[in-house]
């Protein structure tokens, strides 16, 4: 009997399962639900109103997103006759899973026992995985066979062209500084409050904007810009499918935030991972999640302040301003390594 | 410039084309009656004289006389003096053969307004590149709703 229980606990604790499903899917989903509520409340606050409220007046409408989720899940899922059914259903789901996949390459602790995979190439692996999911958003738009979805998909495609290098290179500034792809080593290099956001703020800035660009955050919410392309690639999706899609962009941003936290914000510091599951794995990941959530809140705040850029302006900004900045940040990282500041 | 001077000026611009000039109440609206055939020439001259846009194109249906009266109400943006006045360039066309020429090549402003007259009265403006109903859906435009013989009823004030 006890053997069974132990085995089950062991399987649940098993890093691949735990990290992908719990830390990659469930916990970020919880954070995303909170963030969506927070975003609506923040926007409401800046806009001088109260936002969701009556659904649960005691906690300021905190259950709003739950209500939305329930409504979405039990609403009719319309699969129009005009779409390519297989691609229409599977593409967004693949995109969702791919967008959380990078989480397996992110260390939430420095005890090798709790790594889902060896961490030698984790940074570059995470970045490689991050680039995969938008592809399937394009496919989802294409499969929808809808004018707005196709245009939205094409916008997404051109945005990929503009942000991918920025997102990759500005994270790699950390590699330039430390000479390793190993995220654990990168976190270790940030001991003693030598967070990379302080040492290389430029890289953090470009990474931050790159994340905004790649997750359609304001002011770069272009692929879903509702005043021309309605809901972008997801125009035809209804019911739970749309809920999933809506969450996917935020999930992706959450994963990016985790990565930003690990690379620039000192990872699990000031906590030092200890022994066992709780102190070795759970506690540091909570620290990382808290930092990432704060980042997410900052991302959300921009919705209240900015409008959106035009597509060509966004691409132009990416290539004319952000890309040079990113290269400079990378060079800065190299120089810092050269002069031994790290 | 007062209204008499304006009338004189308009008469001078249009010279022999003018059939009749009426000054309406308020002394800021004059209506110049011309011949149907002269409208393009008249419009050209008026535009040259500074009446640079059509304020509106009014069509009035007079079933008793059997005519549609088409009034191009012209005014000016660029000329401060003229802009006080509206000059209506009016002509009649027979009701049973509602056809006339477009002013679109002279006044771009006429584009939509002539389409509107087309759908509401069934007047065809020859030479207009895009003579389709503007506001109404085709079946409703078929009814030519603004003609006087299309009757809309008011409800009586008593409840049965």
């Amino acid at each position: 009997m006890t053997g069974w229980v132990e085995a089950i606990i062991k399987i649940i604790e098993w890093p691949p399962l735990w990290q992908l499903v719990v830390l990659g899917l469930i916990a970020p989903l919880a954070v995303v639900i909170y963030i969506l509520w927070f975003e609506r409340k923040t926007a409401a606050r800046v806009q001088r109103r109260i936002g969701p409220y009556h659904v649960s007046p005691r906690i300021a409408g905190g259950l709003q997103l739950l209500a939305d989720l329930i409504r979405y899940s039990f609403q009719e899922v319309i699969i129009p006759k005009t779409v390519d059914k297989a691609a229409f259903i599977s593409a967004p789901l693949i995109a969702l899973i791919l967008s959380i996949l990078p989480v397996v390459a992110i260390p939430f602790t420095d005890v090798p026992k709790w790594f889902p995979l060896p961490m030698d190439y984790s940074l570059i692996l995470a970045l490689a995985l991050v680039t995969l999911s938008p592809l399937f958003i394009i496919v989802a738009g294409w499969a929808s066979n809808n004018k707005f979805a196709i245009i939205g998909g094409m916008r997404e495609a051109y945005l990929i062209v503009s942000y991918e290098i920025i997102a990759i290179l500005s994270f790699l500034a950390a590699t330039a500084m430390t000479g390793t792809y190993n995220l654990v080593d990168i976190v270790h290099a940030q001991t003693g409050w030598k967070w990379f956001i302080v040492l290389n703020p430029l890289a953090f800035f470009t990474a931050f904007v790159g994340v905004l660009l790649s997750t359609s955050g304001f002011p770069f919410e272009i692929a879903e810009s509702e005043h021309e392309v309605v809901a972008g690639a997801f125009t035809e999706y209804s019911g739970l499918m749309y809920g999933i899609n809506m969450g996917a962009a935020y999930l992706k941003r959450m994963i990016y935030s985790l990565l930003l936290t690990v690379v620039f914000l000192g990872g699990w510091y000031p906590l030092k991972p200890g022994e066992g599951f709780i102190w070795g794995y759970l506690a540091p990941s909570i620290v990382i999640f808290i930092k990432a959530t704060i980042l997410m809140m900052i991302f959300s705040f921009f919705r209240a302040v900015y409008g959106r850029y035009r597509l060509d302006q966004a691409i132009e900004i990416a290539w004319k301003i952000l890309f040079p900045l990113t290269v400079i940040a990378f060079g800065l990282g190299l120089l810092e390594a050269y002069y031994g500041i790290i | 410039m007062n209204v008499e001077e304006l009338v004189a000026k308009v008469k001078e611009i249009l010279s022999d084309m003018v059939k009749d000039v009426v000054v309406h109440k308020g002394n800021d609206y004059i209506e110049v009656e011309i011949d149907k055939d002269n409208i393009i020439e008249a419009a050209k001259r008026m535009k040259q004289a500074g009446f640079d846009h059509i304020k509106d194109l009014t069509v009035v249906d007079y079933p008793k006389d059997g005519v549609f009266r088409i009034i191009y109400n012209l005014s000016s943006y660029s000329n401060r003096e003229l802009s006080y006045y509206i000059v209506g360039l009016a002509y009649n066309i027979p009701r049973d053969k509602p056809e006339t020429v477009t002013l679109y090549p002279i006044y771009t402003t006429a584009d939509f307004q002539e389409r509107e007259a087309y759908e509401a009265f069934g007047i065809t403006f020859k030479g207009h590149p895009d003579m389709r109903p503007l506001l109404l859906s085709p079946p409703v435009a078929e009814m030519k709703p603004l003609r006087k013989d299309f009757v809309v009823k008011e409800e009586p004030i008593d409840l049965k």
């Binding site: 109103r49 609403q75 209804s238 | 009823k153």
Partner: protein, 200 residues
């Protein structure tokens, strides 16, 4: 979990998926008592689709302005019909617009609700004898009517509150999931084909 259940049952009744789905609906809604939850979720997540048919749109917009802020009821005006479940007919529906209204209504996923706002949407209002308008209730089934021209933003809020109460009271949403239609509303098919005139 649900996925496995669905698949399992699908296997049992090979070739009779409809029966399986029906029993799954019953089980979910009644035996598992999800019904209440679904009604609650639907009531507090009434997203009106962005369809401004006429000038009542001004007050519709004002109803979501900071002073009245209907988002507090969980209603968020949304862009495309596929993701919404409420349509607010904002005033007059002209013959040209009728087609759009009907299309939007049809393309919204069930369970869906309709509110008619303004005198025009009720009985024509000041345009009662116009030749170019239709009464919205001729083309879609309406749940709540708001009189006024335009109605005050509070009236819109009141309509949403009333609709929420109705959903929770009558269990409209979960009955829909359970049975596939709404028992409380006769489903209208427009008398004439409102899109017949369309030029393709």
């Amino acid at each position: 979990m649900e996925g496995n259940g669905g698949k399992g049952e699908g296997k049992v009744y090979v070739g009779n998926l409809d029966v399986a789905a029906k029993s799954a609906r019953k089980i979910l809604m009644s035996s598992l008592r999800l019904g209440k939850l679904v009604d609650w979720g639907t009531a507090f997540s009434l997203w009106p689709v962005h369809l401004t048919t006429s000038c009542c749109g001004c007050e519709f917009a004002a109803a979501w302005s900071p002073r009245f802020d209907n988002e507090q009821h969980g209603a968020l005006p949304w862009i495309a019909p596929r993701q919404t479940n409420l349509i607010i007919i904002e005033g007059t529906v002209s013959k040209k617009m009728a087609c759009a209204v009907r299309l939007v209504w049809e393309q919204m996923p069930q369970p869906k609700f309709a509110i008619a706002m303004g005198a025009c949407a009720l009985d024509g209002g000041i345009f009662y004898n116009s030749y170019n308008i239709v009464r919205p209730w001729e083309i879609i089934p309406v749940d709540v009517y708001i009189p006024g021209c335009p109605p005050r933003p509070e009236s819109v809020a009141r309509a949403i509150v009333e609709l929420q109460r109705k959903i929770k009271r009558d269990g409209v949403a979960h009955k829909f999931v359970e049975e596939g239609w709404r028992p409380d509303k006769e489903y209208v098919k427009p008398k004439e084909d409102v899109c017949a005139w369309w030029r393709g």
